[in-house]
Symmetry: C2
């Protein structure tokens, strides 16, 4: 059984467990996860039996890539009859018992118009939200997925070292970011990091120095950055980097679909004692969290633990953003998207499991002065963790 078939099988297991008759997958990343192809169309996964990928475009390409049987969609309007014909027992059983089929779709990303189109061609269906089922399956990475993330980690490390030797007073955040992007792009970076959240965008992370880094933004992370304009209000700006201010280098890349995410703090010259100390607290937090990265540890507890350590250091107000602009998490799953499960935050009761991959990013924001912190990505193993990030740690003095 190949990897994709196994993923479909696990999805079916969950569908049956939740008494859902099938799942209609349409989002590009989820399509890739279950079929190996990112061509557009409708992947129908019945709760039992063979899945069918009805491809809108490109059929020929999907047929060469997909591990799931791929056929031309043809007329969208006849998709209901098509599926009823292909899954006679499933559709027939529901029809004869007078109940609606319960089908799941990705309500977290599926636009309302797309659901309405599905409702029109499959009228005897009760649509339910299947996004958590899919996200929870994707939360546990296979050996092949881990290998992809290690490769991305290797590339971002080289990009970081290349960038570090280019930092000098006067280089703008944008120039530095451009250099990093050129480096990772030539190594096969997609050009951006896919993100599931509504309205969220991330290209290659952010490079921010001093007050620019500490500028709050909509972006769902502890450090957003000034950005280029109100139309691009995050990440690198045209501000020149100066001596004796913290330079936050929070970067990642997406190689062959898989994302790495890491942060280092650098300085030309030196930082004041309080910023150095805050950086040291971020390392202390990550070391203490590492010691708890074991199967069974509950995600929420890691967040609460980090809050306690920040509090003990007298830095609660600065932790993960400042004041009203704080974010309420310590880390997030990564994989095909940068905002995967699990989240290290309140309300996330998942126990850690082997195969989870989590970016952990304790950071401290000082308004008008900058952001310091560290971020590594980790894979949970049978007895602890593998640190995927390979870049040197410590406050990097240039």
């Amino acid at each position: 059984m190949n990897e994709y078939t196994e993923r479909v099988r696990r999805l079916q297991e969950q569908l049956r467990h939740k008494r859902i008759d099938g799942c209609m997958i349409t989002q590009n990343v989820d399509l890739y996860y279950f079929t190996g192809s990112m061509q557009t169309g409708y992947l129908f996964v019945p709760s039992a039996g063979e899945a069918l990928f009805l491809v809108r475009r490109s059929v020929v390409r999907a047929q060469s890539e997909s591990a799931v049987k791929a056929e031309p969609l043809g007329s969208f309007r006849s998709m209901g009859e098509r599926l009823a014909g292909a899954y006679r027992s499933l559709f027939g059983e529901a029809a004869s018992s007078g109940r609606k089929l319960r089908l799941a779709a990705e309500f977290d990303v599926l636009p309302v118009q797309q659901l309405q189109r599905l409702e029109a061609v499959l009228p005897a269906v009760e649509w339910v939200d299947g996004s958590m089922i899919i996200r929870e399956l994707r939360m546990i990475k296979s050996a092949a997925e881990l290998a992809c993330i290690r490769e991305a980690a290797r590339v971002i490390d080289l990009a970081f070292e290349d960038a570090a030797q280019a930092i000098r007073p006067g280089i703008t955040e944008l120039e530095l970011m451009s250099r990093i992007e050129l480096f990772v792009r030539r190594e096969g970076h997609l050009g951006m990091m896919r993100m599931r959240g509504y309205n969220q965008e991330v290209i290659t992370g952010m490079v921010g120095a001093g007050d620019a880094a500490a500028t709050p933004t909509y972006f769902d992370g502890p450090a957003g950055g000034l950005g280029l304009s109100a139309a691009s209000p995050q990440s690198a700006s045209r501000r020149p980097i100066q001596a004796n201010e913290p330079i936050l280098i929070d970067i990642g890349c997406c190689i062959d679909g898989y994302i790495i995410d890491q942060t280092r703090t650098a300085v030309i010259g030196s930082l004041t004692d309080d910023l150095v100390r805050a950086y040291e607290v971020s390392e202390r937090i990550i070391r203490s969290v590492e010691a708890r990265l074991l199967p069974g540890t509950v995600c929420e507890q890691l967040y609460m633990h980090s809050l306690q350590l920040a509090h003990d250091a007298g830095l609660s107000d600065h932790f993960m953003g400042y004041g009203d602009d704080q974010v309420k998490f310590l880390g997030h799953g990564i994989g095909l998207e940068i905002d995967e499960l699990p989240v290290l935050a309140k309300g996330f009761s998942y126990p850690l499991q082997p195969g989870m991959v989590i970016a952990i990013e304790p950071k401290f924001t000082f308004p008008q002065r900058g952001v310091v912190g560290i971020e590594n990505s980790y894979a949970i193993t049978g007895n602890g963790y593998e640190k995927l990030t390979v870049t040197r740690e410590g406050l990097i003095r240039l």
Copy 2:
């Protein structure tokens, strides 16, 4: 009255015309269009009276950017009461007459979960699709918007000339694309071009040569490209560019939020006569379409006209993709997103109007051999058009 206030006023005019009581705007690009800020939150536009931007994050940044009154969202759960309090006559009139308020949202991009959250806090509302209202308003650009697009056109022209002098046998599509991306990024490119369509992604366009360019993809354009892997199945690949094959350079950038889109065809050495002729037909089509770019011309007619010209040249099978992978349009609106209205396609009965900005891209695909064509972006004026693209035309021999 400033530009944003005027946009809100025009939206309100449309809401009243369609007997809709208000509009709840949440998508980042639409928020920017109506407020000048891309911070996250809920922009409520009543059919009459003052709009209110309830900001989730960052409030301080939204308040410094937004032309619309911006206040902290606070608790999402109390948003219903909050709006009922702020818009007493609107909500009260509906309640006292026993009818539901009709509110519009962007059903083309709004995820189902987001609509469900709105339904939960505003239960006495009938939600309707407002996406066409917003897209039609955004279709007509202001002088300030046109100035942004002209700036993007200036930058992409410089990037093109920089790339053209770097093309030599053996350079890979990815290396060439990376060089273009570095150039535009340093000039302020966002890092990608925003796209409204579900599952659609575009970074900086595509560079494709020979058979790689002719590889079909899911991407909703005439030439997709081979891409880097099944997880990145479009645009540039690692294939080296060779002599005597068509090199399609379909690139754009996003400067201060606004997009330009253009295509040129180049060759190292020479092309066979049939490809040269197909390129010439693409120029003939664009010249003939230009002659019809006048207020009042119906969009659909321009597409039908191009089909006829491709047919007359005996190139119907190759026009806008090949065979099953053809796309059914000649051009598309551009602005804050790359897939705006109008579309030059069947079913688009919009007459051209001053302020429309359209990328027109006649292209011919030859399987295993490559893609040739041209693309310019145009603004419709009072008596014709302004060609926004400034890059030299003709088959570019390197």
